[in-house]
C-alpha cells in the first residue's frame, strides 16, 4: 500500500483505478483491460511529473518527511559493507536516535553517523523519531574523535526533525552536547562529508552537518526552524506553515544558491520513496565524488578550508 501525500490525491485516484482494473482482470480472464490500464499509467506518470516538477517548499517538507522515504538505516545497509555499530556515549546512555559505527564504502573504511527515524511504530519509538538526546551527540562526538585519530573520513547522514525537547535532555545539557559536537566537526583533520537525506532540523542537524562538503537530496529540506514552529511564532498561527516554508527558503535549490549546500543529489521521479534503490545509488555516486575531491588534502587544509567555508557563508543572498 503506497502512502500518498495530500497533494498526491489525484494521483492516488488514477493509480487506484488502474490497480482496480488489473485486479478485476485477474479475476475474470475474458476481460482485457491492459490498454485501458496502460493509458491510466501514462496519465499517472504525466501527473506525477507535473506534481514533482514544481513542488512548493511545503510540499518538499512533506516529501522529505514521507514515512516510506529511505532512512539512515536503509542507506547504511545498502551503501556500506562490514557496518559495525558502535554504541554509547561512555557517560550515561546509548541513544538509538543516532546510528554510528565503522563501515566500508567501496572497501574504504569510514566512520558513518546518522539520524534514524524508524519505519514503524515500534522502531519509531526506539529511535525517538530521529530526535537525539545529549547522549546521541556525545556518541557522535566520540566517534568523530576516533575517526580523527585513525585517519578515517566521516560520512554523516542527516534526517531529523530536531534535537529532542525533553526534560532529561535539558537536564543533561542538550545545548552543550550540540555545541561540542559542532565544535568537534570543525576540529577533525579528516574529511567530513554530510548528506541531508530528509529533514535537516535546526541545531540537531548542524551538530554533525558542519562538514567540508554538504550535499542534499533534491527534495530534502534544511532549516533553522520547522515551518510549523516558524508559523506559530511569526504568524501566531501554526496552520500558516505553507507561507512559513515559502519564506524560510529551506529547499536544496535555495540552499545551493546560498552556498550552504554544495551539491544536489537528484531523486527519482516522484521522490526517493518511489525508487529507494535508485536514490541510494545516486547518494553513493555523490559520496564517492565528494570524498575523492578531498583526497590528498592535509589535516591542516581540511580544517582550514572547512572553517573558511562557514566563515564565508552569507556573502551571497537570493535573487528577489
Amino acid at each position: 500500500m503506497t502512502h500518498y501525500l495530500d497533494f498526491e490525491k489525484p494521483l492516488a485516484d488514477i493509480e487506484g483505478k488502474a490497480e482496480e482494473l488489473r485486479a478485476m482482470a485477474r479475476n475474470n480472464e475474458d476481460m482485457d483491460v491492459e490498454a485501458e490500464a496502460a493509458a491510466l499509467d501514462g496519465k499517472a506518470k504525466t501527473l506525477l511529473k507535473d506534481l514533482y516538477a514544481k513542488l512548493t517548499p511545503w510540499r518538499k517538507c512533506q516529501v522529505a518527511r514521507h514515512p516510506e522515504r529511505p532512512h539512515c538505516k536503509d542507506y547504511i545497509e545498502a551503501l556500506f559493507t562490514e557496518f559495525t555499530p558502535l554504541a554509547g556515549d561512555r557517560n550515561f546512555a546509548e541513544d538509538e536516535a543516532i546510528m554510528g559505527g565503522l563501515a566500508r564504502l567501496d572497501d574504504r573504511p569510514v566512520m558513518v553517523i546518522g539520524h534514524e527515524k524508524g519505519h514503524d511504530t515500534n522502531s519509531r519509538i526506539t529511535r525517538n523519531f530521529g530526535m537525539a538526546r545529549p547522549e546521541g551527540y556525545r556518541k557522535a562526538l566520540r566517534l568523530m574523535d576516533m575517526a580523527d585519530r585513525f585517519g578515517l573520513p566521516v560520512v554523516t547522514l542527516i534526517d531529523t526533525p530536531g534535537a529532542y525537547p525533553g526534560k532529561g535532555a535539558e537536564e543533561r545539557g542538550q545545548s552543550e552536547a550540540i555545541a561540542r559536537s559542532t565544535e568537534k566537526c570543525l576540529q577533525i583533520g579528516v574529511p567530513l562529508v554530510s548528506v541531508v537525506i530528509g529533514e535537516g532540523g535546526s541545531g540537531g542537524a548542524v551538530a554533525f552537518a558542519t562538514g567540508n562538503r554538504v550535499a542534499m537530496l533534491e527534495h530534502a529540506v534544511y532549516s533553522v526552524i520547522s515551518p510549523e514552529g516558524c508559523a506559530s511564532i511569526l504568524w501566531k498561527d501554526a496552520d500558516k506553515m505553507r507561507e512559513a516554508a515559502e519564506a524560510l527558503r529551506l529547499t536544496a535549490q535555495d540552499l545551493h544558491q546560498l552556498g550552504v549546500c554544495d551539491r544536489i543529489i537528484p531523486e527519482p521521479l516522484g521522490g526517493a520513496h518511489r525508487a529507494p534503490g535508485v536514490t541510494i545509488d545516486a547518494v553513493r555516486t555523490a559520496l564517492n565524488a565528494l570524498l575523492l575531491d578531498l583526497d590528498g588534502m592535509s589535516r591542516e587544509d581540511l580544517i582550514r578550508t572547512r572553517r573558511d567555508k562557514f566563515l564565508n557563508l552569507g556573502s551571497k543572498g537570493l535573487a528577489a
Binding site: P165, G166, G173, T182, L186, V206, L234, W235, G317
Partner: protein, 311 residues
C-alpha cells in the same frame, strides 16, 4: 493682543508643560511589583533593590558600568547583507529591523567593545534581548567573529554576555549557520590561548545556547536566568507534563553541572576582574576608586601570558 497670544501664552504653557511629571520616572519590578525610582534602578544595574530580581539591561548600560570610568572603544562590525532571503511574514524583515532600530537606538542585537576592567584589558561583547529578542543573525555572528579577532590581535580575554531567544528566523538557514561560524570564533581564542568567559543572562535559549554561549572556559550566569535549548513551553507540549519550579533556571543548571557559577550582576565586574587576571597570569587587582583610564591606557599592551609561553 497679538503679543499675548503669540508670545505670552506659549511661554506660560511651556512652563506648565515642563512641570508635568516626565514619564518613566518610576517603574515596577517585574517580579515583586515594587515601584522603583529610575535613578535607584540604574544605580543598582537594573537589579530590584527590594527583591534582587535582575531586570533587562542594555549592552550600552552594561558596558558603562563594566568598564573603568565607563570608557570603552566600540568596535566596528562588518556589515552583512541586509535581507538575503527577502523574508516576509506579516511584516517585511527590513521593516521589522527599522522598528527595532528605532526603539532601541542601536544598530543590531550585539555591541562589541574593547576597554579595561580594573585596569585589565579585555574585549567584551553583549547581546541585546530587547533588539528582536537578541536573535542571532549574520550581524551577531560577524560581531562575535570580530570580537574574537580583536581579542586575538590584542592578546586579551573575551567576555561575552549572552541573551537571546535563539536564531533569527528571518535570515533562515544563514542564521543557523551562525552556530558553526561562532564556534570557529571561539576556536580562534582557544588556539591563541586566550580566556573566553561567557556570562549567560536572561534569557539565553535555542541555537545561541547550543553554540558560543556554552563553549566558554568559564560559564557564569546571572541569578534566575532562563538558560535552555528548548523552551519550557515546547517541552511541556512535547512531554505533556508540568515542569518543576525553577526548571532551566541558572541555579538549576548550576546544580546539574552545566555552569561554573551563578553571580549577582552587582558582583559581576569584580568577579570578571579576578578571573581574567588569574587566567592571564597578571598580579592581583588593586581595589579602590581608580580614575578613568586616559587614552594611553586604552592602547593595547603586550600580553604577559603570551610572552611567557613564547619564551
Amino acid at each position: 493682543m497679538n503679543w499675548i497670544t503669540n508670545y505670552v501664552r506659549p511661554r506660560i504653557n511651556s512652563i506648565f508643560s515642563r512641570r508635568e511629571v516626565p514619564e518613566n520616572l518610576w517603574s515596577k519590578c517585574d517580579d515583586c511589583g515594587t515601584m522603583l525610582f529610575h535613578r535607584e534602578i540604574s544605580d543598582n544595574l537594573n537589579v530590584c533593590t527590594n527583591c534582587g530580581h535582575h531586570m533587562h539591561i542594555t549592552p550600552r548600560d552594561r558596558f558603562l558600568a563594566l568598564f573603568d570610568g565607563g570608557v570603552f572603544n566600540e568596535l566596528a562590525v562588518p556589515e552583512p547583507l541586509a535581507d538575503p532571503l527577502h523574508f516576509r511574514d506579516q511584516k517585511r524583515y527590513p521593516d521589522r529591523m527599522k522598528a527595532a532600530q528605532k526603539a532601541s537606538h542601536e544598530k543590531e542585537a550585539m555591541l562589541v567593545a574593547a576597554g579595561e576592567i580594573g585596569r585589565t584589558p579585555i574585549v567584551a561583547a553583549a547581546q541585546d534581548f530587547s533588539f528582536m529578542g537578541g536573535s542571532m543573525g549574520m550581524y551577531v555572528g560577524n560581531a562575535i567573529i570580530a570580537a574574537a579577532q580583536e581579542a586575538v590581535k590584542l592578546g586579551r580575554p573575551l567576555v561575552l554576555f549572552s541573551a537571546a531567544g535563539g536564531a533569527r528566523m528571518q535570515e533562515g538557514i544563514l542564521s543557523l549557520m551562525q552556530m558553526p561560524r561562532t564556534t570557529v570564533a571561539v576556536q580562534m581564542l582557544k588556539e591563541a590561548g586566550l580566556p573566553y568567559i561567557v556570562v549567560l543572562t536572561h534569557p539565553t535559549t535555542g541555537g545561541v545556547t547550543a553554540s558560543y554561549a556554552m563553549l566558554g572556559d568559564v560559564q557564569i550566569a546571572e541569578p534566575n536566568a532562563l538558560i535552555c535549548f528548548a523552551g519550557p513551553r515546547v517541552i511541556e507540549q512535547t512531554i505533556r507534563e508540568k515542569l518543576p519550579e525553577g526548571f532551566q533556571r541558572a541555579e538549576y543548571l548550576l546544580e546539574h553541572g552545566m555552569l561554573d557559577r551563578v553571580t549577582d550582576r552587582r558582583k559581576m565586574r569584580e568577579e570578571l576582574i579576578v578571573i581574567t587576571r588569574m587566567l592571564m597570569g597578571m598580579s592581583p587587582a588593586t581595589w579602590g576608586d581608580l580614575p578613568p583610564p586616559g587614552p594611553e591606557d586604552l592602547k593595547p599592551e603586550p600580553n604577559a601570558a603570551l610572552d611567557d609561553t613564547a619564551k
